[in-house]
Symmetry: C2
Subunit: 208 residues, 2 copies
DNA sequence: ATCGATAAAATTATCGATAATCCTATCGAT
DNA sequence: ATCGATAGGATTATCGATAATTTTATCGAT
């Protein structure tokens, strides 16, 4: 659905009113499917709708991202830990391919592709560790993180390449299999990105 | 919505076909609101719908509950830990009231009320610890746990009272504030309930 | 001029109906 | 008898329109 893309990419600013009939006409379809789509977006937390008052694009507050990161810390290390023993050469190949893609996207300043790949990288461990419920949770989280990153990085691009390169040591240490070292690096990686995001976000959320 | 209740209580068995027109006529309303409701239930994982093939009540597999418990372990202790310092006498009053309610429901064999209160008890810490995102996650989880318990305990009632009484020491130890003891007791409590549920579930999932 | 009440416009939620799709039973060919 | 094709029925997805509600604009009273 194209609506979601627009919201996640930050093209539709928070508070924007989503008029059912307008969207329907725009897409050349009827109201029913539009309402369905809005219902889904509402469940995902991308829009907010109050009875008889229609839907608006949800805000995305710093506060909420902090909460999400608290949750992420709880579940991501667990997923990585459970993956370690399961990773074979094929997996390392995939991870490396994602890393290469990130580096390439960074060089082209293709922010959206970069973010998608970043999420794919981390999502890989959730998929590998085999807990469908937690994987699904991660996918929900990832949408919001994507959106936040897209919005905060939209005006001023930070050094994407250095973020991309931060993933190389992760792959490297995963090969060695030393659990404690892996843990340290992943936690550090998460905190680093979080810190950078925080910094970038300051004073920039207002303009969105 | 009454549909959700019926599913969670296990009155609508897995695989049951939800016909839009039938439900609409039954409730004396049109298709549109029914479809909306189904969309919500789909997002919650209570029903499954495939394109052009309508909706059926979702199965609830042992496997999925195991996944949920793995997730629960990751987040619940964290919530409790963060709550400890925040609990005052009013909170202990609430928790004790919930406990009393559970004991009373157990004596009356009111399974549904019992389950609701059990979830309220554990949800209390998620609410108290202040992370809205994780609280929301817990609420989603709680719905599925309720449903599983309702279905597995429907035919043969285990000893509800002893489960209720398992909560008293939890309140007790929370008052002392010894983090390590609290942790041990909560983890133990969770594993105990999980084990009991597992046992009860055996051979009984087939009849649903 | 400001405020509240009222009317007009806009928008949502709901409705009943149509078109598209899927399922089932019947029939005919091998 | 078995299999595939086909027609009929059932059900979903979509549609355009109506009813209910909210928002905006207008007007008159203070």
């Amino acid at each position: 659905m194209a609506l979601r893309e627009s919201i996640v990419r930050g093209e539709l600013y928070p508070g924007y009113r989503l008029l059912v009939l307008e969207i329907a006409n725009e897409l050349g379809i009827s109201q029913a499917p539009v309402r369905e789509a809005l219902e889904r977006l509402k469940q995902e937390g991308l829009i907010i709708s109050r009875h008889n008052k229609g839907s608006i694009v949800a805000e995305i507050k710093q506060e909420e991202i902090e909460e999400i990161y608290a949750l992420r810390e709880l579940i991501e290390w667990d997923a990585v830990r459970k993956s370690i023993r399961l990773l074979d050469e094929k997996d390392f190949g995939h991870l490396t391919a994602i890393y290469d893609g990130m580096a390439s996207a960074a060089k082209k300043d293709d922010l959206f592709r970069f973010i998608d790949l970043d999420m794919d990288f981390h999502g890989y461990f959730f998929a590998k560790s085999g807990n469908q419920t937690i994987l699904h949770l991660w996918q929900q989280i990832a949408v919001k993180l994507k959106r936040f990153q897209a919005i905060t990085n939209k005006i001023y691009y930070p050094d994407l390449l250095s973020i991309a390169e931060g993933h190389a040591p992760l792959i490297e240490v995963l090969r060695t299999g030393d659990e404690e070292k892996i843990r340290q690096l992943f936690i550090q990686h998460m905190k680093e990105v979080w810190w950078r995001m925080n910094k970038d976000a300051e004073g920039r959320m207002r303009d969105t």
